[in-house]
């Protein structure tokens, strides 16, 4: 049961706002009004109190005055909403509907001027909005006028319905409690002497100056004030929005074509029969010629274009014909609408075979049939050709080497002695400058496979050194090097230099350790490679005997000659021994394959290698310059012929290969064009 004399549903009571329940509780419990010195709580302004209208002159059957005002305001709510600007002064650019409202208000004002105005009107003109308040209050309320039709017309439908339901059921006891409770803030203020509070508006009126006019109008429910300036628009309405406010309802033409389908298709709600009987026809208040609404573009774009219809679950009038529910109507169908039984689509079983597919099938069949056939091993023509060419090349090279040797050394002349290589000339000079009997360190650091090449390159050099009276000390960093030296001296020069014997050269043997051994030997030859021989039963150190008795370091040798086929070994000599050589020249006779890696050391400004000879050609230059015939002369003819044969074979083979390559390139486009 509500404190206002009507009964609300239970859920309505639960959903009632706190302020409403608070008022009801206070009125119901009859609590004493707040004391005089009580101040509003923080955040609670006097305007909040002013929002509550007085309830002293309310009709018990109809509720308090503020509620009556709300009821009356509901009746003109539609007009208020369509009147965003209620100024009396017409301005340029105002729409027609605003002019209509102004004219209506002017007519009403003229009617009000004819009625009597209380004398105390002047007391309230000083308050902001007081004139409006007074004019609103000067009009008789529907309740005061006693016109039931007006009262019903001024109350909203929902409230009318509630009144109809609750008013007859109000209990007398509750009504008495309601009467005993302070019905308004006037009563509360009277008890608490709130009239003495400075600045407090008199009872029965509220301070509307701090309230927007639209809220005052809703609260009072009176007609729109006549003298409200046109700029009294709610603060949340901007100036731009004021111009775009919707036109009056009579200018809106709500044709079905402009409305969304979901609106146009929905059936109009029929009010209850009682409401239809009590609610006046709004037609007289709204002009029949409603203007067509101008929807903004963004709203027009947002409206639903096509709303699918919900499936009709319960078809009205549908009667079930099968099952236990047979005979019942408006039942939900057992099968959803989306399940439809029909004939399944049929597909053609005929293969769509194109010519490309047929061609691919033929190729596959051909491949399979060829795989199943027994094949006889075939000897490729290429293998036969390759083997024949290999034999031809080998035969040519063997003949080119063997025939000149069998024909003798005469034939092809050695290179001209006046144009030897740079390294060969430097070697000649160094050996020519050797001191007589000077010790020469010779390193045989090559593998036996390069014996022939290095024999041809170095025989003339050894011949020249021996003729200069050099005392040779041979050793090697290769395990077979010592034997290489002995073999070289005994088999290449023994016939010409019959004085060569163990007593005329010193074999120091094999030096292990690679670069480390070379470094050690360069710093301390005697300590690194101690050698002893027996002289008349006494062991004598080879380093105490001529020519090595004056050698303490490697720089004490008259020259160091290195024979090698390996760039790494030559580099080890250059890096480990050359820094300790001092003025002792370092001469290298190397294989042709090692020459490119040693030329930088020879051509360097530091002169790490003083002379460099490579291969049989430099040996031939040396022999030609020395006017002697040694191993280079013996090999020179074969070398010249085999070199020519090799060049011819390589050239012809490459020529055939290039021709076949060009032919293949020319044939390929023609073959592709044919295909």
């Amino acid at each position: 049961m509500s404190d206002f004399g009507f009964e609300l549903p239970d859920d309505s009571e639960e959903e009632a706002p706190d302020w409403l329940e608070g008022i009801g509780d206070d009125a119901h419990s009859g609590q004493a009004p707040p004391p005089e010195d009580s101040q509003p709580a923080e955040g609670e302004s006097p305007a909040d109190d002013a929002l509550i209208p007085p309830m002293d002159d309310h009709d018990d059957d109809e509720g308090p005055d503020w509620l009556q005002d709300i009821r009356s305001a509901e009746s003109v709510d539609d007009d208020r909403e369509e009147e965003p600007n209620r100024g009396d002064t017409p301005s340029e650019g105002d729409p027609d509907w605003l002019e209509n409202i102004r004219q209506k208000e002017q007519t009403r004002q003229q009617e009000l001027e004819t009625s009597a105005i209380p004398e105390d009107k002047e007391d309230f003109e000083t308050y902001p909005g007081g004139q409006d308040e007074y004019e609103d209050l000067s009009q008789p309320s529907p309740e005061e006028s006693g016109d039931p039709s007006a009262q019903e017309a001024s109350s909203p439908d929902w409230l009318s319905g509630l009144e109809d339901e609750t008013t007859p059921e109000a209990a007398p006891s509750e009504r008495a409690e309601f009467d005993a409770a302070p019905q308004s803030f006037d009563d509360l203020a009277a008890d608490a002497d709130l009239e003495d509070v400075p600045g407090e508006p008199p009872s029965g009126f509220v301070d509307t100056g701090s309230l927007p006019s639209w809220l005052v109008d809703i609260k009072r429910g009176g007609p729109p004030p006549e003298d409200t300036p046109p700029d009294e628009v709610p603060a949340f309405v901007s100036e731009d929005d004021q111009e775009n406010i919707l036109p009056p309802a009579e200018d809106i033409d709500l044709t079905p074509g402009d409305l969304p389908s979901w609106i146009s298709e929905s059936p109009p709600e029929e009010p209850p029969a009682e409401a239809q009987a009590e609610t006046p026809d709004p037609e007289p208040e709204h002009p029949p010629d409603l203007a067509r609404a101008n929807l903004p573009n963004w709203l027009h774009a947002m409206r639903p274009v096509d709303i699918p219809k919900a499936p009709e679950e319960g078809l009205p009038g549908h009667e079930e014909t099968l099952g236990p529910l047979a005979g019942l109507q408006n039942l939900i169908p057992a099968e959803p609408d989306i399940i439809q039984f029909g004939k399944s689509p049929t597909f053609s079983l005929k293969l769509d075979v194109t010519k490309t597919h047929e061609r691919s099938t033929d190729i596959l069949e051909q491949l399979i049939s060829e795989e199943s056939r027994d094949r006889k091993p075939r000897i490729s023509v290429e293998a036969i050709t390759q083997g024949a060419v290999r034999w031809v090349v080998a035969t040519l090279l063997l003949l080119s080497i063997a025939v000149p040797i069998m024909l003798g050394s005469d034939g092809i002349e050695l290179p001209a002695s006046d144009s030897p290589g740079e390294g060969t000339s430097r070697t000649l000079e160094l050996i020519h400058d050797l001191p007589p009997g000077g010790p020469v360190l010779v390193a045989f650091d090559y593998q036996p496979a390069f014996t022939g090449e290095l024999y041809a390159a170095s025989t003339a050099v050894f011949d020249h050194m021996l003729l200069r009276g050099a005392q040779l000390a041979i050793f090697s960093t290769h395990p077979t090097g010592a034997s290489q030296g002995v073999n070289f001296l005994q088999h290449t020069l023994a016939e010409k230099h019959t004085y060569i014997a163990d007593q005329l050269y010193v074999d120091l043997g094999y030096l292990a350790g690679g670069p480390a051994g070379l470094r050690t030997f360069a710093a301390n030859p005697a300590g690194t490679m101690p050698q002893f021989f027996d002289i008349e039963g006494a062991e004598v150190s080879i380093w105490d005997w001529a020519p090595l008795d004056q050698v303490e370091t490697v720089s004490d040798f008259a020259m160091v000659l290195v024979l090698t086929d390996s760039p790494e070994v030559a580099r080890a000599w250059i890096e480990q021994v050359d820094p300790l050589l001092g003025d002792t020249p370092l001469v290298m006779v190397v294989s042709e394959q090692a020459e490119p890696f040693l030329i930088p050391y020879y051509r360097s400004e530091a002169g790490q290698v003083d002379a460099l000879m490579a291969g049989i050609q430099d040996g031939a230059y040396y022999e030609s310059n020395r006017d002697s015939e040694h191993q280079a002369r013996a090999y020179w003819n074969s070398y010249s012929v085999a070199l020519g044969i090799s060049v011819a074979v390589i050239f012809l083979g490459s020529l055939v290969g290039a021709a076949s390559m060009l032919i293949a390139r020319f044939r390929r486009p023609a073959k592709e064009a044919k295909e």
């Binding site: 290179p415 030096l511 350790g513 480390a516 690194t528 580099r571 930088p600 060049v647």
Partner: protein, 208 residues
């Protein structure tokens, strides 16, 4: 404690100290005799390593003979040759008649023949290069090869100065020299980096 490898830090310390001492001897006045002593030890160790290599070779091939491997015959020939040469050299010395005869008439011809076969193989490969791998770089390779060969000497007794005195020196002293120097610089940088890594213990080719 069982997994503690004592050998690794000890060998690393020894290697780093020896390497640092020998390296410092090139730039700083290190007490005389210390670098030479270390290098002499390295030479002795290298000689011992050679003997260990021979012993390992003997063991491997002996095991092949005992196991009856398919190459047991070759292993047998190798071990017999090793014993004969070793015994003759030990008793007669490296300059003895028989050891020199074996070296002069067996080892040198065999290795020289292998080099001669290499000559045939390289010639035949050059012949088939353009046929098997036709292309621009193959043609360039063959052209350079022919130019260098023509400049290496008289062709059938005919001296071709345009090749021997002009084209071949351009290639040898130009492109070949530039390439060789680049390779040597790379080798030098690699040697330096390897030495530094060993000095810092980052690389331990000695194990550990």
């Amino acid at each position: 404690m069982n997994n503690l490898n004592i050998k690794a830090p000890v060998s690393t310390i020894i290697a780093v100290l020896v390497a640092a001492t020998v390296l410092a001897s090139y730039f700083l006045p290190v007490p005389e005799g210390i670098p030479e002593m270390l290098l002499s030890a390295a030479v002795l160790l290298a000689g011992v390593a050679l003997l260990l290599g021979v012993a390992n070779l003997f063991t491997v091939h002996l095991s092949k003979i005992v196991q009856g491997s398919s190459t047991a015959l070759y292993s047998t020939v190798l071990l017999v040759s090793l014993f004969i040469t070793l015994i003759l050299t030990l008793f007669l010395g490296p300059k003895g008649t028989l050891p020199l005869w074996i070296f002069t008439y067996i080892q040198i011809p065999i290795e020289t023949s292998l080099m001669a076969v290499l000559t045939f193989s390289l010639t035949f490969a050059a012949l088939r290069l353009v046929i098997r791998r036709p292309g621009t770089f193959s043609l360039i390779f063959i052209a350079v090869l022919i130019l260098v060969l023509l400049g290496s000497g008289p062709i059938f007794g005919l001296n071709l100065p345009i090749f021997s005195e002009f084209l071949s020196p351009i290639i040898t002293n130009g492109f070949v020299l530039a390439g060789a120097r680049g390779i040597l610089l790379g080798v030098a940088l690699g040697t330096i980096s390897t030495g530094l890594r060993i000095l810092m213990g980052a690389d331990r080719p000695y194990g550990g």
